[in-house]
């Protein structure tokens, strides 16, 4: 995440227009910048890592890369925690670091204009407001735009060595 986009996210007129991949977590719809998405795949067996929080499912082999898988449903207490052939993993590429997130389902890719996007009121989502870029209304549904890079890099996700978290 660049300093500029960081600043705009915090300002009152965020410029977050662009293409978003939307997905469902429980009752809520979320959107993440399509440019941060590497691929979407099914849920494979993971290798459990000792002494980690429950939402870190473990690591998988993604064409030779060892990639951690995070179940956002567990992290945010949303949806039913089941793993079957319909379970979807979004593989993110965040500045070179590859992470997979488990969600309830992927809906669509949407191009959002600035006029679709509103500022974030308090307490609208299960995800802390500091990781929300804005809200968009699409077909009378509210879409929560997540700053996924910031969220995944946060200390609470426990994906980075604590020394590198800031």
């Amino acid at each position: 995440m660049t300093a500029t986009s960081m600043a705009t996210a915090a300002s009152t007129t965020p410029s977050v227009a662009g293409e978003y991949l939307t997905f469902v977590l429980g009752e809520e719809s979320y959107g993440i910048e399509i440019l941060k998405v590497q691929e979407i795949r099914g849920y494979d067996t993971v290798t459990k890592i000792a002494n980690t929080p429950a939402f870190i499912k473990g690591v998988v082999n993604l064409r030779g890369r060892i990639v951690p898988i995070v179940d956002l449903r567990i992290k945010f207490n949303l949806g039913k925690i089941e793993y079957d052939e319909f379970t979807v993993v979004i593989i993110l590429n965040l500045g070179g670091r590859v992470v997979g997130i488990v969600v309830d389902g992927v809906s669509d890719v949407m191009a959002l204009q600035q006029e679709h996007i509103r500022n974030v009121p308090e307490l609208v989502s299960s995800i802390d407001t500091q990781y929300i870029l804005g809200l968009a209304t699409v077909e009378e549904r509210m879409l929560i735009l997540v700053d996924i890079e910031r969220l995944m890099g946060s200390q609470e996700m426990e994906l980075l060595d604590s020394v590198t978290v800031h």
Binding site: T45, V46, T47, K48, I49, A50, N51, T52, G58, V59, V60, N61, R63, G64, R65, I66, V67, P68, R97, V98, V99, E158, L159, L160, D161
Partner: protein, 761 residues
């Protein structure tokens, strides 16, 4: 345009490092009585190259000392001075100073100005010292070139008589040379007693022109040209002397040229002024040469331009191309035939080096990673194919087999990119052993074997320190003083052997001395004194391993070199960190061998896969002492300290991996599972897992690339089925097991031995 020169420093540093190492290697190999010319030239060239680079990049301290060094080397190379042991010592000292200066520039380490001054003085002193000229007559012109030049008459109009001293010529060269020179003037020939020729040439051409012409037939370094009116110097074959005389002639010639001749030869007025300017600025153009800002080359030296003699000569020579070819072939054959075979190999090696390219290590590592993936993918295909009907899928199976072979070859080839010969490490020891033996008053002969054995670059760099320590130890404490050796009926000169060899998937590096050997009794006594748990029943190998215990030294006298055992724990730790093992073999009175086994590359690990519930973990094989299925009576529960296992007189704490990692498993009783005895940093533990899966080589992957560090895990690998297995960090596991016993939940297990009846000291 301004260019930041500092961007080239790193290349210069690397290059100088290599040149210094090379020079040292050659110096140590020099036969002082009859030094090899090629070697002297190579040493000279190293100094020369460093001087050039240092001066270019503004490292004047290095330029200064290489300049002095080069002068002295040049005199020896040209046989104006005979090589002595003193010279070699001075050169080695100069190498040390240069290395110090280099590190000073590179790593900002301290440079001792006194040492620099001392060595500079020493080199200067030697350079100005008594010049031992092989032929006395030759020193005269060398010493007083100016006088000779000033004695020369000004360029006379009309003809000049030149005296050409030529090497032994074959018939064809003789004829060609006569034809060529005939174009310049009239030639008369005299053959000297030893077959060489002395020709007289009356011509209006200059010495330069004569040399230009001759250069297309023979090597001009092998001849000399002098004017008849010069004091005749008796021709002596050494090429070095020819250099000087040719220089003298040329000097006289150029002098006159810078005035009148330049004007004559040049068709352009521009040239003269340029020439004058440029000489001052450090460059110049020879006549007739037109510097022209926009002109293309072809118009610059166009048809109207008078061709220089050299080009004319070249044109003539190209009409007989076979002549040149033959000469050069013949020369190189001569050169090779009188060199020992060793030289040929070295030459081949240096040729190989010069055709290499420099590539960033990251690129190579990326390549290695990609091939690693390919190997895994291929293994997955193989697994799936194995399930198919061999008759129905014969062709697919055949193709898969081909893919497997190609993949393996590719992997091997890619891995070899990172490989470097052990010589890279071994080559630093001759000097060290020489200095060390000198200091200690010992006689040591160093023998290296298998220096061409290759090892991963990363490992090569990391093996240097441990090996240095072992070599020091062997010289200091292994090999006895000459009188002791004589008293024991051995030759006064001890032998130290460094060897490297491939054994399976590992490289075995051994340091062997024919010294006193290790003393079992003394080791045991010392261990007891240090409070280490020892018993008389311990095998020799176990006793020898005691020297790797921290702070263990058996040296009777502490010398400034090393105490046997001091730092040996560090040696062992370094080698273990490389996934390697150390073994000691010793026979009292006959010597000691320290044998290091390392994996060929850091990217691959020999591992033991173990199961724990539905998980597979990999344990580095080099850290496994043994595996066992314990009997109930071997397991002891120590109050407050968890369970212990009794193995060969030792009580080892049991670390249950499932508890440590909070994994579910049905096997919670050690007698139902397997105990893997692991050892790191001198501490042993028994790791309790469900079962053994198998031994295999795995490609190490970092967990931190996309995730973070996990305590107890050193990395990950991808198994044949494509799943991920984690590699255990054995030292961390032992530590975790000691800080907390996961079976009983009891606090802090101390490393002291448990007080139980069965325990015997």
């Amino acid at each position: 345009m301004s260019i930041d020169m500092s961007q080239f420093y790193e290349v210069f540093f690397d290059e100088s490092d290599e040149l210094l190492a090379e020079a040292e290697h050659l110096l140590l190999g020099l036969d002082i009585q009859s030094p090899d010319m090629e070697d002297l030239n190579a040493i000279f060239r190293a100094a020369h190259s460093i001087k050039g680079g240092a001066a270019t990049f503004g490292m004047m301290d290095m330029a200064e000392i290489t300049h002095v060094l080069e002068n002295l080397l040049d005199k020896i190379r040209k046989q104006e001075m005979a090589l002595t042991a003193e010279h070699v010592d001075a050169f080695l000292a100069a190498k040390d100073v240069l290395k110090m200066q280099l590190d000073g520039h590179r790593l900002a380490t301290a440079v001792d100005p006194e040492q620099v001054a001392d060595v500079t003085m020493m080199l200067k002193g030697l350079s100005e010292g008594v010049a031992i000229a092989p032929v006395p007559t030759l020193t005269a012109p060398v010493a007083a070139p100016a006088a000779v030049v000033s004695a020369m008459p000004p360029a006379a109009p009309g003809l000049t008589r030149f005296c050409l001293d030529l090497p032994v010529l074959n018939e064809r060269d003789d004829r060609n040379l006569r034809d060529e020179l005939g174009l310049l003037g009239s030639v008369s020939q005299h053959v000297l007693a030893d077959g060489r020729s002395q020709w007289l040439l009356d011509t209006d051409s200059s010495a330069d022109d004569i040399l230009s012409i001759c250069s297309f037939v023979i090597d001009v370094d092998q001849m000399r040209v002098s004017r008849e009116d010069m004091p005749a110097l008796e021709a002596v074959a050494a090429a070095a002397q020819h250099d000087i005389e040719v220089g003298l002639e040329a000097r006289a010639d150029t002098k006159s040229k810078s005035g009148v001749e330049v004007q004559e030869e040049v068709g352009y007025g521009l040239f003269e002024t340029l020439e004058q300017d440029k000489v001052e600025e450090g460059y110049g153009f020879f006549a007739p040469f037109t510097p022209h800002p926009d002109a293309v080359v072809t118009t610059m030296i166009g048809d109207e331009t008078p061709l220089p003699a050299a080009v004319e000569a070249a044109q003539r020579t190209t009409r007989q191309p076979e002549k040149n070819t033959e000469i050069s072939t013949q020369k190189s054959t001569d050169k090779l035939s009188d060199k020992p075979v060793k030289k040929d190999n070295e030459k081949a090696a240096s040729t190989a080096e010069t055709t290499s390219i420099r590539v960033g290590v990251e690129k190579v590592d990326q390549l290695i990673n990609l091939v690693g993936e390919l190997v895994i993918t291929q293994a997955m295909i193989e697994q799936r194919i194995a399930a198919l009907d061999p008759v129905q899928h014969e062709r697919l199976i055949n193709s898969a087999g081909q893919l497997m072979r190609n993949t393996r070859d590719l992997q091997e080839a890619v891995m070899s990119i990172r490989m470097m010969p052990m010589d890279f490490v071994f080559s630093r020891f001759p000097r060290m052993v020489r200095d060390l033996a000198g200091k200690l008053g010992k006689k040591v002969e160093l023998v290296t074997q298998g220096a061409s054995t290759e090892l991963d670059k990363g490992l090569i760099e990391r093996i240097v320190d441990p090996l240095t320590h072992l070599v020091r130890n062997s010289v200091d404490h292994g090999i006895e003083l000459p009188e002791q050796r004589r008293a024991r009926g051995k030759s006064e000169t001890g032998q130290l052997t460094l060897s490297a060899a491939h054994k399976g998937g590992s490289i075995v590096i051994e340091v062997t001395d024919d010294g006193a050997g290790l003393n079992r009794e003394r080791l045991l006594a010392k261990a007891q004194q240090n409070g280490l748990p020892v018993s008389e029943n311990m095998s020799d190998a176990e006793v020898y391993q005691l020297i790797f215990a921290p702070g263990f030294s058996t040296a009777e006298a502490v010398t400034d070199v090393s105490g046997r055992g001091v730092g040996m724990d560090v040696v062992k730790r370094n080698i273990t960190a490389m996934n390697g093992t150390v073994e000691i073999r010793s026979v009292p009175g006959l010597g000691t061998t320290i044998s290091i086994a390392l994996p060929l590359t850091l990217a691959i690990l020999d591992g033991m896969s173990v199961s724990l519930g539905s998980n597979i973990y990999v344990i580095p094989l080099n850290l496994i002492v043994e595996t066992l299925q314990p009997r109930a009576q071997d397991i002891k529960t120590v109050t407050g300290e968890g369970r212990m296992v009794h193995v060969r007189g030792e009580y080892l704490p049991i670390i249950a991996l499932h508890s440590l990692f909070n994994h579910d498993t049905d096997i919670t009783d050690p007698t139902q599972g397997v105990l893997v005895l692991i050892e790191a940093e001198g501490r042993k533990s028994a790791l309790f897992v469900d079962g053994l899966v198998g031994q295999q080589q795995v490609v190490i992957k970092s967990l931190e690339t996309n995730y973070r560090r996990v305590r107890g895990i050193s990395g990950a690998t991808i198994m044949g089925d494509g799943s991920v297995a984690l590699i255990l960090d054995v030292p961390a596991i032992i530590q975790m097991g000691q800080s907390h016993n996961y079976i009983t939940g009891a606090a802090a297990y101390a490393s002291r031995p448990p007080q139980t009846k069965e325990y015997t000291q």
